[in-house]
Subunit: 240 residues, 2 copies
Amino acid sequence: MISTNKIKQIKLLHQKKYRQQNKQFVVEGYKIVSDVVNSEYNIDEIYVTSAFKETIDFDTILISAKEMQRISGLKTPNNILAVVNIPEPKQKFDSSNKLILCLDSIQDPGNFGTIIRTANWFGINTIVCSPDTVELYNQKVLQSTMGAFVETQIFYTNLEEFLSNYKGNIYGTFLEGENIYKQNLRQEACIIMGNEGKGINEKISKYVTHKLYIPSAGKVKAESLNVSTATAVILSEFRR
Amino acid sequence: MISTNKIKQIKLLHQKKYRQQNKQFVVEGYKIVSDVVNSEYNIDEIYVTSAFKETIDFDTILISAKEMQRISGLKTPNNILAVVNIPEPKQKFDSSNKLILCLDSIQDPGNFGTIIRTANWFGINTIVCSPDTVELYNQKVLQSTMGAFVETQIFYTNLEEFLSNYKGNIYGTFLEGENIYKQNLRQEACIIMGNEGKGINEKISKYVTHKLYIPSAGKVKAESLNVSTATAVILSEFRR
């Protein structure tokens, strides 16, 4: 059972404004909900329908499929949905002695989520984002991570300030960069990925110490790679 | 000027059924429309609004921004839209002496489009798809290719039949595969990428001669890579 008022409240969490106001977000589906249950995130409530047959280590509230449809943010609703509390953003983070990723104004939720998933796959657990990068708690971002966001420290901060204090190598991809396949890539470094349309902002690019390029097969119609695709190629190259 | 009837016809092209019935599809935006103009595709009509300032080598029809809004399939309409004729599917294709990609039941239009874009970047111009792979002329697929589809031969065919006649190495990724970074990868080969949720179908996997694996950083929450991301890592590894 779920009250009409509660349904209304949860539906509002599909809008950024209300997520920020109520400090809560929504995730749906067994895999991602159980990843959140087994993480440091603090869960408010978990709703399930009678179709939910798995077990989960949290008290669940049984609702009808019709009610699930109303509170779900997905086209095809799942049989489990969690309302999770947004933690206080951490003020400090340690970026030394490891490979980290910096995102400059990534706008597409699917790209951002896929980048978090890919970074997690390659063992990167710190991502520093410009303040205008898409919001982490956007449901499309979270679902695209396939649960990887619970293992990733994601910070929003002024990148210029962060980079000006950063001590290691700073990598970025540019058309005039060096062939990535021929570089000796350092494992204690920061890799910057730029906006989908505009690439890395000029103010940010001046901090790049090593310009890289993923060679294409020549003059091809695709003038660039998608940013999440390029991130995958670069991280694979660093980790191989 | 555009008639109400024409508006209705173009709007219907945003549905697969009518694309197949009328043998036409729609692309929007200067880059992709000009890629199509400069390709072998046969264009029916190109509509522009007064905001269109570039030049294009085709007679255009001027319409109002409001009319563009009505015929556009995009949330934020562009100032140029082309209606293009679907060519007759080619019956024969040459898959020898090169690297080709096989897609087994890719369902997400964004993934398919991104794979075409990435393949084009790495110089692959032949993609063989199972009949249940998402339709090429879906607008989201085409837009995600960033124009690369005009340089790519894309075939839909029975993969079992195709693979049983294929002579070269056949690669696919599997959890039990060999570390891709340690393989001597052949450039005359076929790489199979599987469905987003289920991976490579059992009936197809028996044709794989070389099972590959992209190593993760250990036991991570992301249990796999997104299929377009994995394709990028694999193609980069073949081409580096």
